[in-house]
Symmetry: C2
Subunit: 153 residues, 2 copies
């Protein structure tokens, strides 16, 4: 098997060595060590790192990725089935992200039309769960007249 040093992996994956070590602490990738305690990564790690970066683009957290990658072998090429499973679920993720954003955009288009001086009737300011798609924090958009206790996170 061909082994890569952390520097080689960094150069070829475009990910900083510090990030690679960080990923390793999170169990996303694994290495063996030389006698002198240096990391050596199997070539397959290059793919793993690419998957991680791709997954991040799709909006997955490292924790979710660790989960997904836990089902793949660390030291060999993922099987076609592995890859299909991952890419299918990522695709679903993308699809739902896209439709949420599209909905938001269309609402915004209506708003441009309406002027929305009273935001009361504006779709943008009603809950619509675009919310959960991104980040943390209270996940409500709202208008004048909707009540409800504050959303604690």
């Amino acid at each position: 098997m061909e082994w890569l040093t952390i520097g080689e992996l960094a150069d070829r994956s475009g990910v900083a060595t510090s990030a690679l070590r960080f990923y390793e602490t999170k169990g996303l990738i694994a290495s063996t060590r030389t006698d002198g305690n240096q990391r050596r990564y199997p070539r397959a790690t290059l793919r793993r790192v690419a998957l991680i970066r791709a997954g991040q683009e799709v909006g997955l957290s490292l924790a979710e990725l660790a989960n997904a990658l836990a089902t793949l072998p660390h030291d060999s090429t993922p099987t076609r089935a592995d890859w299909e499973r991952l890419s299918r679920s990522w695709r679903q993720r993308l699809d739902s992200q896209i439709s949420e954003l599209t909905a938001l955009r269309d609402e915004l288009a209506d708003c441009i039309g309406c002027g929305c001086l009273s935001l009361r009737s504006c779709a943008l300011f009603n809950p619509g769960d675009v919310a959960s798609a991104r980040g943390t924090g209270p996940r409500y958009l709202m208008g004048d007249k909707r009540e409800e206790g504050r959303v604690k996170t």
Copy 2:
């Protein structure tokens, strides 16, 4: 003018009081104080907060929002022109986010077809600047054979 306490604003906007105070420190919203030093917000703040939350959904940072909102009056309804200006630029943002995600999804669809056992030919793992859309960090996805120094951020 009708004034809201921070608690009322929180209940009606769905945003925690702590977040509202935080926004105030960032100049996103403003308040006057009672004799007893309590915040009182003009009703228009409700709209401002709604705009902030909507802007966040669109992927704007609080700093960017502070910037955009700096052009609106704190204590009265934004004019139609104000609102159009904002919503137009947010719409552009949405449009580009959507097209980036769509591109990523389509590449992924190809990948499902190809199996991508060698990720060499897979569109997902070539740069394609979906990258800059989200967050910080090295912004390269790459395959086996692309070289290049690491991307420092």
